[in-house]
């Protein structure tokens, strides 16, 4: 998993294929980082992501629940139309802000 920690903000650079197989690893590593670095904000960066399914949505929802309990927030950047559709269908867009591209 590629990531960056800046103070209490964790950026997760999501993999090319965000499926069940990769989601497991992200879940473990992200939770470890959240605890160790007192993370309150998570940015999910979809820039590299070409494939996503409901397991990917699950890992995002799970991190949201953790961070929300700690009084923090999560958001997403570089989402394409397909990711947006999936996030909207699952109701994630109600709890998570999606930052639009600046052209």
């Amino acid at each position: 998993m590629k990531y960056q920690v800046q103070e209490n903000c964790l950026t997760i650079f999501l993999p090319t294929e965000l499926d069940h197989h990769n989601a497991e690893e992200i879940r473990k590593e992200a939770d470890h980082l959240i605890e160790r670095n007192h993370i309150r904000y998570i940015i999910f960066d979809f820039e590299e992501t070409a494939f996503c399914d409901s397991s990917g949505i699950g890992v995002i929802m799970g991190r949201y629940k953790r961070i929300y309990m700690l009084g923090g927030e999560v958001c997403a950047v570089h989402t394409n139309e397909r990711m947006k559709k999936m996030l909207t269908m699952s109701g994630v867009t109600k709890i998570m802000h999606i930052y639009e591209e600046e052209n």
Partner: protein, 151 residues
């Protein structure tokens, strides 16, 4: 029949085979000349059904997953089967956000995505026997054949 093609695939229910399964079905459907969007739809649906067989059907034990694909004219038919634990209440399972494994960070959106991205979904399951997911996708729905246009 002339315009048909078939394939069958049997593989171990390991999470590392999820990408193998969706890429293989994507390769099989190329003869139908699908758009990038249509390939993505099918890949997501296959990934959902195979992941469910791994996590829910076999509960991470390694057994066989079966995929049967068939194209007929411009329709792709896919069947994905496991001989695992089966589904108690199919109607409940298909509800958006319903999951029996919330502790594993499941979103419960698998069946909803299969329904949204495919043109047909049928779930056949019996507790203790296993599950068969039947899906179909019509390729080139929005596209007009140039030969059908008046010249």
């Amino acid at each position: 029949m002339e315009n048909t093609n078939e394939m069958e695939l049997i593989f171990d229910s390991r999470s590392s085979n999820e990408s193998f399964a969706r890429v293989t079905v994507a390769a099989f459907m190329t003869s139908l000349n699908p758009t990038v969007e249509e390939v993505s739809d099918v890949k997501t649906a296959v990934s959902e059904a195979v992941t469910n067989a791994v996590i829910h059907g076999y509960e991470n034990e390694v057994h066989n997953i079966y995929i049967r694909c068939r194209t007929e004219e411009r329709t792709l038919y896919i069947e994905i089967e496991d001989k695992g634990r089966g589904i108690e209440d199919i109607e409940a399972a298909m509800e958006p956000l319903f999951t029996t494994k919330p502790e594993l960070d499941r979103s419960g959106m698998g069946f909803s995505f299969m329904e949204a991205f495919m043109d047909g979904l049928e779930v056949i399951s019996e507790p203790g026997k296993g599950t068969v997911i039947k899906m179909k996708k019509i390729i080139g729905k929005g596209r007009k054949l140039w030969t059908a246009q008046p010249l």
